[in-house]
Each structure stands twice: as C-alpha cells, then as structure tokens.
Subunit: 328 residues, 2 copies
C-alpha cells in the first residue's frame, strides 16, 4: 500500500497566504490501473500564479502546481520506471497519472543536475518568457523594453532574450541584490523600485527614447505609470500581476485607456498553458542560448517538501532570485 503526502488548502486565502491556510494530509493511493503510472516528486515548483488559482470552489482540494517526478511504477508503455516527467500534479509527494498533459523529460537535456530547469528556464516560466515576449512584444533592434518583476524566473529570461535581440532593457526589482543580479545578466538599467523615488521620473531618465515594449509581471502602479509613457504603436505583454494577487478587493488605479487609444498600443494577456504545442520550440532555442552562454538563469532552492509553504511565501516577500523550486 502506497501513501502520499499532500497540501490541502483548508482556508480561503485573505491577503498574503498563511501557513495555517494549508494542512498536510496523508492519502492512501489505490493500485495503478492499465495506462497509468505512479510518480514520486523530485522537484516541486512554487509560482506566483498559484495564489490566484485558489478560490472558494477549490477549497479542500490539493494545492495546484507543477513538479518534476520520477516514475516508480508503471502500466503505461510511454512512461517507464526510471523516467522523469513534468506534470501538474500539485503539492504532493506521489501521484497516479495516466500521462495526460505530462511531459516526459529528455534526459540528454534534463540531466541529473538540470532536472529542476524543467520547472524554470526550460519549463513553464521559460516558455512564458520566450513565447509571450517574442509573440506580443515583437522586439526590433534598438527598441526599449521595460520589464517588471525582472529578477524573477520569467523577467530575468525576458530581459536576456531582449538583449539577444538587440534591445535596450530596463528592469525593475525589489532589492539591491536583485539589481546587481540583473546587471550581471546584462540589463542596461536595473532599478530597485523600493528606493528609487518617483517611478515616472525614473522611467524618463532610464528610457530617454521612450518605451516601445512593456513586459509586465506586476501590474498596479507600474502598469498605470508605464502605459502613458509608451511610444506610439507600443506593445504590452501581461503575464502576471503579483502586486494584485493578495488584495482583498480590486484596487483602483488611474485609467489608461486614453493612452492605449492615442498611442495605438497593443495590450495582450498571455497564459502559457494555452500554447503547450509550442513549448518545445522555445526550449530548443533557449537551450542553444544557454549552451552559448547567452542566457543565464538562477534558482532559489528550498529543501524539503515540508518547507513548501515557506518557499511559496517567499514569492510574496520578494526574497527569491530567479526560479523558486523545492527539492523534495
């Protein structure tokens, strides 16, 4: 008889999620059926989007999330014992899956020391950075990009991809350590928004030719302030809104629709799971950039399944550099 441990969300989050909102429970797993396999978590992901995925209809459910897992039992010909997979199994140690929407990891790319990248630079955040930025921002050489949440898994990749494409890159992050990290990645300007003073003036100073592209992980005041300072025909990609996730009520901000009109901007939301068939295209190119040293990444590792909540809370306290992952 196999037992799994998992995090159930017991209490609807109000504001920043609390440890007591979760309960770690044991679950006895049934035997696997034909077509199924049993996988054991090796790396688990915590991501900002998870905050918004919990609502009154999901209370009592296992917390959602992706993980890298090792197949330990199988009645599915496509997934053999010893294979490694990435799947949306949730915050749990063992999972029965039929292989639907599961990526089998190519071990020539995802070697032992790089398994966790399947949750980061060569996973969901990497695909988001690559596809959302290139599709929607459609960068042209010499253009200026502003990235918020720039030191995160997505933002740090977007800035580097923009540099590869010959753009000027201005990134905002929440600590001096992150600013140093962004400069080490080649960002033209990196700004600690907590100490910068006026955002409007900072933009004027760091974007002397205006802003052609805005890649937004944060929303809120950044969104309100950057949109009116964009150049004609600018492109805005929204992939996150971390400043808003923990609000009890939707916040008000200065309306920007007149700027969208007058500057003929394009503003688009992007959810990477709507573009699954194109992930391999992203990973192929990004893998080449990594091999050439053009694309760097960082991971903030938390040890232990029992510390998943702390890793999750770290997303909102701004302590992570690059991708936050948990080693099971």
């Amino acid at each position: 008889m196999t037992t799994a441990r998992k995090y159930n969300v017991e209490v609807l989050f109000t504001g920043v999620p609390k440890k007591s909102d979760f309960k770690i429970v044991e679950e006895t797993l049934r035997a696997i059926k034909d077509g199924e396999f049993l996988a054991e978590a090796v790396w688990l992901s915590v991501d900002p989007y998870m905050r918004g995925a919990v609502n009154s209809s999901t209370i009592g459910n296992t917390m959602i999330g992706e993980q890298v897992a090792k197949v330990i039992e199988s009645k599915n010909g496509n997934f053999k014992v010893g294979d490694y997979v990435a799947g949306m199994f949730g915050w749990r140690t063992k999972t029965i899956s039929n292989g639907d929407r599961v990526r089998k990891l190519d071990r020539s790319i995802y070697t032992d020391d790089k398994l966790s990248t399947a949750l980061g630079i060569l996973g969901m955040p990497g695909a988001t950075a690559y596809l959302a930025f290139l599709d929607i921002c459609a960068p042209k050489e010499g253009e200026t990009l502003v990235v918020t949440g720039a030191a995160g898994a997505v933002g740090s990749a977007v800035g580097q991809i923009a540099k590869i494409k010959g753009c000027r890159v201005v990134g905002f992050a929440g600590s001096d350590e992150k600013v140093q990290y962004l400069k080490s990645l080649g960002f033209d300007e990196a700004i600690n928004y907590k100490t910068m003073g006026s955002l409007k003036e900072t933009l004027e100073k760091t974007c002397p030719k205006g802003i052609d592209m805005f890649f937004d992980n944060v929303g809120g005041e950044f969104y309100d302030t950057i949109i009116p300072q964009m150049n004609k025909s600018g492109r805005v990609t929204i992939v996150g809104a971390i400043s808003q996730y923990n609000l009890e009520n939707p916040e008000k901000g200065t309306r920007v629709n007149r700027s969208i009109l007058g500057k003929e901007l394009t503003v688009k939301g992007f959810v990477v799971y709507s573009h699954l068939p194109r992930w391999p295209e992203a990973f192929k190119t990004m893998g080449e950039w990594i091999d050439k040293g053009q694309l760097k990444y960082n991971e903030t590792v938390t040890e232990g399944f029992d510390n998943m909540f702390d890793a999750f809370a770290g997303l909102f306290s701004g302590k992570n550099l690059g991708k936050a992952v948990v080693k099971a």
Copy 2:
C-alpha cells in the same frame, strides 16, 4: 481680396468646452500660388476627438477639423474649380491648400445629396468603424459584440457591420430615442445606460454567452466593467473615450489588467489617420452595403457656420443621432 472666417481657440478648455473659449475672427487670404487652390467650406465636421486635440501648445490656433469644400480657384492641375474635396482644413470658411492629404471626392459616389457622407459613413468615422472593428475585433459568426456610444457615427456603423458578419450586437446609448434608433438598425439589444441600473447585471442579462468583442467609444466605467466580463481570447478595440475628454484630472477606475491576463484578451487602440491608404477599401465595401440597404446611417445637421460651437457642444450633451455635421 478674399476673406475667410474662422474659429480660434482663445482659452484652454476646462471641463466641457464653452462658447467663450472660441473667437470667430476674419482673416484676409493672400493670392494662391502655383500648386495651390482655394476651397470654400460646404460641410464641416464636429467630432469628439477634437476635444482632446486642443492643448496649451495649440492655443490661439484655428480649431482643427475636417470639412467638405468646393474648389473655387485653382493653380493645381489635380484640383479643378468646381471639384469637391475633403480635408483637415479646420473650422474656417475658406482655405488655401496645396492638396497634401486632401481627398478629391468622386462625384459618382458623393453626389450632391451625399456630400456630407464624406465626413461620416463614407469618411473618417466610417473608415474607423470598418477598419478598427474588422482588424481588431476580427468578428466570427455567432460571437457577441458590445458597442458603447452605439448611436454615434462610428458605433452605429460598427453594430451594423457586426450584424452583417453574423454577430449578436448589444449597444449602449444615452436616450430612449437612441435606443429606438439602434433597434431600427437591427441591434439585438439596445440599452439606455442612463436608466438601466446596474451595468454588470445588464451585461449578464443581455450577453448570456459572455462578450467576445468590445468596441469602445466611451471608456470609464464601461471599460472597467465590460473587460472583466469578457470571454477568453476576447478582443477590445478602443477608438474613443468620450467619458474622459472633459475631465480636469485623469479619473481612477478599477484595475482590469488581471482580467486582460487571465482571459488572454487583446486590447488595442486605433487611430484611423494612421491607416489612410486603406480608407478606399473601407468605402468601397461600405458603399455596396449602403446600396443593398444593409448599412444605414443618420446625420444630425446644424445649419450655419456661426452655429458650429453648438454642434460641437451637442457631442458632449448627447443630443446627436449618428454623425454631427454643420452646413456652412
């Protein structure tokens, strides 16, 4: 010696423009040079966008705007005496032009009784409706469109084009008379927003399958409320924001970027003068629809150059049905 009369903007508008912000002045025109022609206004346009085009740097200038004019003197081979043209000549009775950005009107289309349509359904507003709606909203049969400012020159055309494309059309306007007009044009639902009560509930009731497309002339609360009720992959066209033009300070509204993200919306601003080469394509198709009786239009006519201000003020008091024009 030729004399023109024109409206100068003497005072920067605050709130709704006032008659005393303008001054009608006489101007003595010089003789035309080679390559130029002199044209006399026949029809003048008043449009909401004009409100936003006045700023501190344009004070003292002639009020901008398009007009249909008759060539009365010419030293330009392309524009002969007796030709009719449409051009951005401003609020003035006579104009010297070198023909740059001037449309010579094809008199087989713009017959004597249809000259004013060069400012409306077969002019800037018509091109806006056709190009912005088809380009950005990209309608598919069976989808639902919401139009604000629906009884105006642009909105009334957009709704009818959407009906031609097989869509469900819900229009918002500011009087029962306008609602009746929209129903006569074939709108599936027409709503007087001044008496409807809750916008959110009205949308839920009139858009049972959600909102796929939103064509916005108004902005403000409409924008804030409609965006979160849109369907996945919805398209939003912003061509105006009349609710905002007369505000002294930018208004705050509930932030909608999380809805743009989660629903993967596309929001685009559209300025029709950036698409001048495509206007003839729009007029050709719309002319055919008019001939077949599929596309109707209305004009609210004010008589007399001296009453231009009243026609302009009518845009903001909501008294016009369809395109507002002034007969010189």
